[in-house]
Each structure stands twice: as structure tokens, then as C-alpha cells.
């Protein structure tokens, strides 16, 4: 619900100030026309207090009964009715008091009724239109705020979902490997349970801050790679190149995970040989650049297909975080598929 225009102290002051200025002008004007001070003062107080009350009523009324778009004629009709009502009360209520108090003044009072009516109409009309404008702006502001809040919520939800895409295939296969190790190599199976738990904890971490250091991200990635190595045995080799400077850089949490997952999927499932997945990080010109490389077979798979869900989710996350679409790129050369990610370090 939009707030009443006079809810703020500033607007109260403006309203009271305008009323006072008008009242002062009113009394001085009447006095200049040769009417007595006291009569002018009583006239001013009674008629203008009533007028102020009516304008406040109008303004409040508009808050609850907003005219439909373009139906401003309704406002005019209500203004005319209110001004007429006001004029009636002034003529027969206040007029009666004036008649008792000052006969000369009453004659003037009676003659000035049409002008009084017109002034009342102008004042109520102005106040009504201003109120209408005020409420329209308030509504607009509110709907914009609502929209922004909804967008923010949707963005956060999307980012959250993108972060925790967990591959069920990976999870169940890892559990199967552990199951296979339990009898023959209990120590190894316990180690793998530990790694899988640590990895899952990392993915489930509810993010207050979705940024992490590259070093931490690498540690998390290592857990994943260790599990995959147990699963695939000699077929999976990894090579990770980083520096202390890189490890201190910031990176969105779990950003690299789907990229490496993708590399393993396309590396391991595209050849029957052993594959090496290479992750290399460098820092330059305010960017942390991470490349992930995997071999592929150009004969049987086109790298085009490589931009599957894994990479499109990374692209989307980078866009939501930086509003840029040029931070992720891929290339395929000499049987090597390379994914490059640049993270601005501002």
C-alpha cells in the first residue's frame, strides 16, 4: 500500500506552510478591501480550516478509490461536489455566525460566494491532481521495487541451482566403487568414503558468499579427481599447474567443477586409451585465467557437441555474475579440447 502524502515530516511542513501563506494573504487582502481585522481573521480561520480539512479528505479518498487510468473526469466531479458542499457549509453555517457578528461583513461575505466557490474548486482540484500523481508515482516505485526484488530472488535461486548440479551418475558409481573396495581394501574404501563426504559437503555448502579462493577451489577439485581416479584406475591421469599468486585469486565457488566434469566425460568416453586432464591457471592484467584440457577424437566427435549442459551452465553463471558472455571460450586443436575461463579480479 502506498503511503499517504502527508506521512513525511517534510510534506507536513510544506502543507502547513502553504496553508499559512495562503491564510495570511487572505487576511491581508480582506483588510485592504476595508474590512475589519477581527472579522477577516474569523472568516479566514473558519473557512480555510474547513477547506484544509476537505482537501485532506479528498487526498485520503483518492488513496483508496483510485480512478481508473484516464478517468480524471471523476476527480473533477468529486471536486465540484466537495467544493459545493464546502460552499454550502460556509454560506449557511459560517455565514450565519458572521451575520450575528458583523452585518457589513456579511453583505460582502454573501457577494463573494461565487469567487469563494471557484477558489475552493481550484484548491481541491490541485490537491486531488497532486495526490493522484503522488500515488501513481508511489505505485510505480513499488512495482519497480517488487520487480527488482523478484529478479534478485530468481537470480539467486538460479545461481544456487547452477552451483550445485550434482551428477547422480558420479555419485552412484562412486558408491559402487566403495562397495567393491569394502571387502578387499577396507582402508582404501574408508579413505574414499571420506573423500566423497568432503566433496559432497563442499557442494552442499550453503553459500553466504559464493566466492572462494582459487586454492580452495583446487582442493575441492582434487577430492573429485581423486575419486574419479579410483573409479577409472590407470585410464585417468591429471596434471594441475598453479602458483601461490593464482591460489590467492578469487573464483566463484564450484565454477570449475562442471568444466572438469565435462573434460573427464569427453576425454574418458571418447577414447579407450589412458587420458590426461590438464588444469592450468595464470594471472595477468587483472584476470585469473584457467584452462582445462582434455583429449578427444576428431574422427568420431565434433567439439561442437562438447558445449553440453556442463559448459552452458558455466556460461550462464558467469553472465549472471559479471553480465558478460566473453569469459568462457573453447577451442579444439590437435586432438585437444581446451576450455578457457577468465575471472575478473576487481
Amino acid at each position: 500500500m502506498s503511503s499517504f502524502p502527508l506521512a513525511t515530516a517534510k510534506n507536513k511542513l510544506i502543507f502547513a506552510g502553504s496553508w499559512l501563506a495562503w491564510a495570511l494573504m487572505y487576511v491581508v487582502m480582506l483588510y485592504n478591501w476595508g474590512l475589519s481585522w477581527d472579522s477577516a481573521l474569523i472568516d479566514m480561520l473558519l473557512t480555510n480550516s474547513l477547506l484544509a480539512a476537505i482537501t485532506l479528505l479528498m487526498s485520503n479518498n483518492i488513496k483508496y478509490y483510485r480512478p481508473r487510468k484516464g478517468k480524471y473526469l471523476h476527480i473533477l466531479v468529486v471536486c465540484i461536489a466537495m467544493s459545493g458542499l464546502w460552499a454550502g457549509v460556509v454560506r449557511y453555517g459560517i455565514g450565519a455566525i458572521m451575520k450575528l457578528y458583523d452585518e457589513v461583513y456579511f453583505a460582502f461575505f454573501d457577494n463573494s460566494m461565487p469567487i469563494r466557490f471557484n477558489i475552493a474548486l481550484l484548491v481541491t482540484g490541485c490537491i486531488s491532481l497532486m495526490s493522484e500523481l503522488w500515488y501513481t508515482l508511489e505505485e510505480q516505485k513499488e512495482s519497480e521495487e517488487r520487480k527488482a526484488a523478484a529478479e534478485k530472488l530468481a537470480r539467486e535461486a538460479e545461481l544456487y541451482n547452477l552451483r550445485r548440479q550434482l551428477q547422480p551418475h558420479f555419485l552412484f558409481n562412486s558408491l559402487n566403487s566403495i562397495s567393491a573396495l569394502v571387502n578387499s581394501q577396507p582402508a582404501q574404501s574408508r579413505k574414499m568414503i571420506q573423500q566423497l563426504s568432503d566433496f559432497l559437503r563442499g557442494t552442499l555448502r550453503k553459500e553466504e558468499n559464493q566466492w572462494t579462493s582459487f586454492g580452495e577451489e583446487l582442493d575441492h577439485l582434487q577430492l573429485y579427481l581423486e575419486i574419479e581416479k579410483v573409479r577409472f584406475g590407470y585410464r585417468l591421469q591429471t596434471e594441475i599447474i598453479s602458483s601461490d599468486e593464482c591460489n590467492a585469486c578469487r573464483i566463484p565457488h564450484m565454477l570449475l567443477q562442471p568444466v572438469v566434469e565435462n573434460a573427464i566425460k569427453f576425454g574418458l568416453y571418447d577414447t579407450t586409451e589412458a587420458v590426461t586432464i590438464r588444469v592450468e591457471a595464470t594471472v595477468s592484467e587483472g584476470y585469473l585465467t584457467v584452462t582445462v584440457q582434455n583429449p578427444f577424437d576428431p574422427e568420431t566427435s565434433s567439439p561442437r557437441q562438447g558445449t553440453g549442459f556442463g559448459l552452458s551452465s558455466v556460461q550462464r553463471r558467469l553472465y549472471l555474475l559479471f553480465y558478460r558472455n566473453d569469459l568462457l571460450s573453447t577451442s579444439a586443436e590437435n586432438n585437444l579440447f581446451t576450455t578457457t575461463i577468465k575471472i575478473p579480479q576487481a
Binding site: H169, F172, N176, R231, Y269, T272, T300
Partner: protein, 246 residues
């Protein structure tokens, strides 16, 4: 003695089946295979009674491997998580083990297989393979066998398909390959926006067409980038126009 083969790309996944097999002394494990290529070779060589087959494997998946074997042995599928495969299994009442599985579940699968023994033949797996080949990652390639060699053809390498008796002849830039399938199968599985059935006996990759010319009464002929000419029937012309948006 029952002879079996395990085909799975993960060594530990094989070792657990091996472990469970120890409870079944009447079943002899004759070979373990790392992938579908090894699997085909081993099946040809040993002619096992039963195989344990993983779905997701390098190069060709378990279904594609089975497709290449003319008289496949009985199969117990093993998979960790694959919605399409599981749906296919359910629809065709084939037994499958979801990893990780325990000894009890494994024994049950063996018992069920023994009950059905003799009934489950190539006929039983065929409809399953037909369903399975509709899964999205499989319609990007066609796997064929040339002698003892296996060839994987990415669909974009195909110029056109031609009916040839019980086979379909797949024309690619590297020559033509035969696959034991029907034209309807390819019409159903390949992307309809890319592959159009221009004629009862022809399916064409639309991006390979350079020109379409009239040919005799009410018929047309499509000229392809490799110089081949493919007949286009009246109704085929209509479908082609639809896809090309002309």
C-alpha cells in the same frame, strides 16, 4: 558349466561382480572387458551364455555394442544412473542391476535368468535395442561393423541413406557402409529437421543438397555436394519443402 563375460569400463565395478560370482561356482568367468570393442571380440570368441554389461562406456555404449552382435547372448545390464536406459529396461522386462547392488539382488538376477534360460534370446533384446537407440546421445552417431572392425559415423558425415534389401546403405564421405536396420528406424531416430525421407528408399541430409531438379513426370532429383543424385518422390518433395521452408 555356464560361461560369462563382464563388460564394464570401471575396474572396481568389474571386481564387485567377480566377487559376487564366487557364490555361483557353476558360473565361470571367461573374460573381463574394458569397453565395447573388447566386448564384441570376446563375445565372438567365447560365445558366452550370459554377459554382464554396463551401459555408459567409452566410444560405444552397451546398447550400441549389442546392436553389432548378430546373436547376442543373454544380458544382465548394470548401470548407475541413466534415465533412458532404465525406462527402456522397464518397458522390455529385461533384468538390470542398479549400482551399487548387493549380493542378494545379484543372486536374484541370476536366479531369474536361470528361470528364463532358453527363452531370452536375440528376439527379446531386439525391441529393447530399438527403444534404446532413440536416446538423445545415441542419435548423434551411427555405429557399423565392417568385417571385424567397428566404425563410428557422426551423423553429420552422412550424405544420404539408401534402402538395400534387409540393410540400409549409409553413404558418407568415406564411402558406403551397411547397417542391419530398416529405413523406418532411421527415419524415426535421426533428427527430422536434418534428415528427410525424400523417397521410399532414400533419406537425405538436407545440408548436403545443392539443387533440386524436376525429373520425369511429378518427380524430382536432388543433387548433393558430393555429386550424387538422389530420387525425390512427389510426397518426398513436399516433406523436403516443409523442412527447407520453401
Amino acid at each position: 558349466m555356464i560361461r560369462t563375460i563382464i563388460i564394464d569400463d570401471e575396474p572396481l565395478a568389474r571386481s564387485i561382480i567377480k566377487e559376487y560370482l564366487q557364490h555361483h561356482p557353476q558360473i565361470a568367468l571367461v573374460q573381463e572387458c574394458n569397453d565395447g570393442f573388447e566386448g564384441i571380440k570376446a563375445i565372438m570368441q567365447h560365445r558366452p551364455d550370459l554377459i554382464f554389461l554396463d551401459i555408459q562406456m567409452p566410444k560405444i555404449n552397451g546398447f550400441e555394442m549389442l546392436e553389432l552382435i548378430e546373436q547376442p547372448p543373454a544380458v544382465i545390464f548394470t548401470t548407475a544412473f541413466d534415465e533412458y536406459a532404465i525406462k527402456a529396461f522397464e518397458n522390455h522386462a529385461v533384468d538390470y542391476l542398479l549400482k551399487p547392488f548387493n549380493q542378494e539382488r545379484f543372486d536374484k538376477a541370476i536366479a531369474r535368468w536361470r528361470e528364463q534360460q532358453g527363452k531370452q534370446t536375440a528376439e527379446a533384446t531386439k525391441p529393447l535395442l530399438e527403444t534404446a537407440s532413440r536416446q538423445p546421445n545415441q542419435n548423434q552417431r551411427v555405429v557399423v561393423k565392417i568385417g571385424s572392425k567397428i566404425k563410428i559415423i557422426p551423423v553429420d558425415d552422412i550424405y544420404y541413406l539408401e534402402a538395400a534389401d534387409d540393410y540400409v546403405k549409409i553413404h558418407t564421405k568415406e564411402g558406403a557402409f551397411l547397417k542391419n536396420k530398416t529405413m523406418t528406424h532411421f527415419e524415426d531416430t535421426l533428427d527430422a529437421q536434418v534428415f528427410v525421407r525424400t523417397h521410399r528408399s532414400y533419406i537425405v541430409h538436407v545440408q548436403r543438397i545443392t539443387r533440386i531438379e524436376p525429373y520425369e513426370k511429378e518427380n524430382f532429383v536432388a543433387l548433393l555436394t558430393n555429386g550424387a543424385q538422389v530420387p525425390v518422390s512427389k510426397s518426398g518433395y513436399g516433406r523436403l519443402k516443409n523442412v527447407l521452408g520453401i
